[in-house]
Symmetry: D2
Subunit: 296 residues, 4 copies
């Protein structure tokens, strides 16, 4: 995702100084006209505005503030007054607030800008962005973010962007499981996934899952738009955040277990909708040829 | 609901012969121009088409086929060739199939026509109807159903209508709980229900709950459009059906428990969205003044 | 179970008048010296004390009080002053209270006497009995119950016996699932079921499951002492009772779904401990050869 | 717990060199005859055998191998051939395996020795110890561990001790919740916690919770033997471990949420049995005066 966004920025005419933990990945962008930096600190020293898109909160905190092996060469070391750091990762709100505090203590500013949408939407530059932080800083970042987004929502202070991103994810995974539960029960009672989906889409209960994801079940076709593995990773983060602020999440907890089972039963690299196959296996309801193929 | 539909039929110019277990309720319709029948059998003998809308599967089976105290005076006793029985109740698909078989053995036909939408929508004659059964029978019933509905979907054979009605309900209750889980976690992380809802409604994740129900939380206003008690009753039926066909429903099971707790903690007569208050109490997150008002 | 208890009574020297819905089953007892009755009413008219052991609450209520096809020939019709009815079934406490009221209104008395223990223990006449009802009635039944039991606990008024029986079952099913969860997680971390069980049994956490059931997992041997099907049926009753008194049972609900899945995945006739195989399949953890054998 | 064990060692006649992150805590032991070390490295350099008992896996890994602020002054820096490190913490099995590898690479050895039992049992020197690692190393540690334990079980290689400790905990928390579910349902049906507990203890279903913990409910007395806060912390670790090895834990997940709710509803410092109050609140069943006292 980070790569796609960077390409959009280059296409938008911006000059980029790029850094990646894997040097070869940065080199790709050199061929597209970007410069390659040696360290995150290097990027922060030479740019007015720094964008990050990293794997998880631990890596992000490390690269942005030097809490691990990046000590001494992190973005924090290169930041100063007037500079803005924009984190676009799916992050932990308590971590981004900690990062913001450190960046601000050096005179810079930090905003969140996590994205809604997948690879295909990113390539079309139609991501939705959940910007959070000081209004002025968001405004400065906006033209650059617009190279990759048609809709930038300013959702509040730092923490609000990552929170809402996490919540949209949590909501999606619960709905994927909820709809799967409905599909399998309906099928057992003689109503096919196709009929069920059509009726949903003909009523006020039409939603993202019935409109865009149910097709996977209907066609018994599981090539990934997003993988089960991603769902497991996202749910892991959501559950960690809930745990850290001590909020019970009974549905999230069960859905986390169901996605974990989906991964373990050999469907890790299939589309996220494959949780429906797990439901079907538990009920021995033959909605997919994968129901009979056993656990591996 | 049955009363509202009957009134729509009268307004539509149809002649009605009505029966209700509570005589006084039938008398109301006499004042509106309907005739009052002595028994369900009486209705079936004198009408070409019979509509039923009853509390639960046991009562419906009893009134339509005489399995309990209606033995000898049920609709079945009055049914014959050419007659059609239309059940509009939220019923159990295995029960409606049993009823259909008996009605057909007498030469009549049976179709399902459960409704989607509440009291207000019924009064506006804008219900959606999930018709199921033989095409010709559905066509005969259609003009009469149109007095109460702008959208009649023919969803399949007998069983399909009640199945889909149950599934739409199950899906709704899971989504009510899922969104509540999201609202409470977001609030703990500093994002208000209002902001969260606005962002949902600005993305592809907009859905029935975020559009029509979230307002209850935002306004901390719990007068019922539909009550928690109704959710408990609906979930009870959905869980019974799932049990009878042995399909695991882990999310439905937990949501059933959460709605049961909502009823028990003094919120039985509040709007169905009050499950969010239960979530908030479990997390001690003050999104509503009801969080502090204790358990009764 | 009813047959085994009747045989113990005959061995104990008691004269028996037996009735069974399936005549051939009653005939078996004729060969052992019992008389055969024509109806439940017949039994109640000719005996001072009547024992029942039936499939479920609906059948029991029907046979004892004539709520269905037994109308006019049920035990209630034959009961009078001085007679005692003893129900040994796993019943619904609200149903037994209703039965007791009717029996008492005819001048008789009703007590509950559900049993703890399986087929093997019944044959050894070592069942534990949870007697509930009036002290004098329990005392009158005691010598006859002792032909099948070494331990008769008087646990309270009518309703208490069936309640405690249900609760002991619910507790057992939760523990079967809980231990399975432990076994699979431990195995993944390198600790075998055998080692884990030995350690449990060497600490204060030793319990019925670790002492008597874990062996099934260790030996990968699943011939039933009690079947998964029985667990599904027992949990169905426990969930119905909880629903009828509106008590949330989150663990019971999930365990009900896990046992349902176990039955659906082809293990209905295996021992109740086979829920561990379901857990193992969900985690792809090879604790049993059944993990690889797929879903049917 | 670490302090109590150290005191037992001193009583047993062993010479101790102690270190604690909080210097004042180490000083206490100086008054009892121990020497105080400046760093963990110091301890490892001067002792043949090193015992650790720390808060969580992160702190333990830091103090034993210098992964954080202890870099350069950790136990690892002082370890060499012939030395044995014994970790008695409730730890993460993947972390202890990592620690073992590092200690062994320096020529020393590492064993696990987590304890079963609480403060009171520690003072009586009657803890059970789950020793894991090389047989010879366990044998060397045994006499010292015996100053605090009457039962030392050698459960396998490094990882097995912490795994079993985690599993015993997970099992306990599930049983605490399971029994609470039973108590509240039984109470609603008219059977008191006292009667229910007595019957359990009179059958094969007697277990640690019914024997040692149910008394809290019966007496409505909640002073902590172990606190709800400890349960939340223990479940957090168990869920992290399960997540790291991708094993679904549906009961553990729900119980984690129920204990989190118990803490949030104002019962964090009460005894772990207070999860029964959470169940009672959800069902509005008055088994404790705390049911009515609301959420804070």
């Amino acid at each position: 995702m980070g790569g796609r966004i960077a390409r959009n920025m280059l296409k938008g005419g911006y000059h980029l100084l790029v850094w990646n933990r894997t040097a070869s990945k940065a080199e790709e962008f050199a061929r597209l006209g970007a410069e390659v930096a040696k360290t995150p600190k290097d990027v922060a020293e030479r740019c007015h505005i720094v964008f990050s898109m990293l794997t998880d909160p631990i890596v992000t905190e490390n690269v942005l503030t030097g809490t691990g092996e990046m000590r001494g060469i992190s973005v924090l070391e290169g930041v100063g007054p007037g500079k803005i750091v924009v984190d676009m990762s799916t992050n932990h709100p308590l971590v981004t607030r900690r990062i913001a505090e450190k960046i601000r203590s050096k005179g810079g500013d930090f905003i969140e800008a996590p994205v809604v949408g997948g690879a295909f939407i990113a390539e079309q530059a139609k991501l939705t962005i959940l910007a959070a932080g000081k209004k002025e800083s968001v405004e400065i970042a906006t033209p650059i973010l617009q190279t990759t987004s048609q809709k930038i929502l300013h959702v509040g202070d730092v923490g609000a962007g990552t929170t809402i991103k996490l919540i949209l994810n949590l909501h999606l995974w619960i709905n994927m499981a909820g709809f799967s539960e409905c599909v399998v029960l309906a099928s057992r009672l003689g109503v096919s996934p196709k009929t069920l989906t059509e009726v949903f889409n003909n009523t006020v209960f039409k939603n993202y899952v019935t409109e865009y994801k149910a097709q996977k079940i209907i066609e018994d076709e599981w090539s990934p738009v997003a993988t089960v593995d991603l769902a497991v990773k996202d749910l892991r983060l959501a559950m960690e955040v809930a745990r850290d602020v001590e909020v019970p999440t009974p549905l999230g907890s069960i859905v986390k277990d169901l996605y974990t089972a989906t991964a373990q039963m050999g469907m890790r690299d299939l589309d996220i909708m494959a949780i429906a196959v797990t439901y079907a296996r538990l009920a021995n309801e033959k909605i997919s040829r994968l129901v009979d193929s056993g656990h591996k």
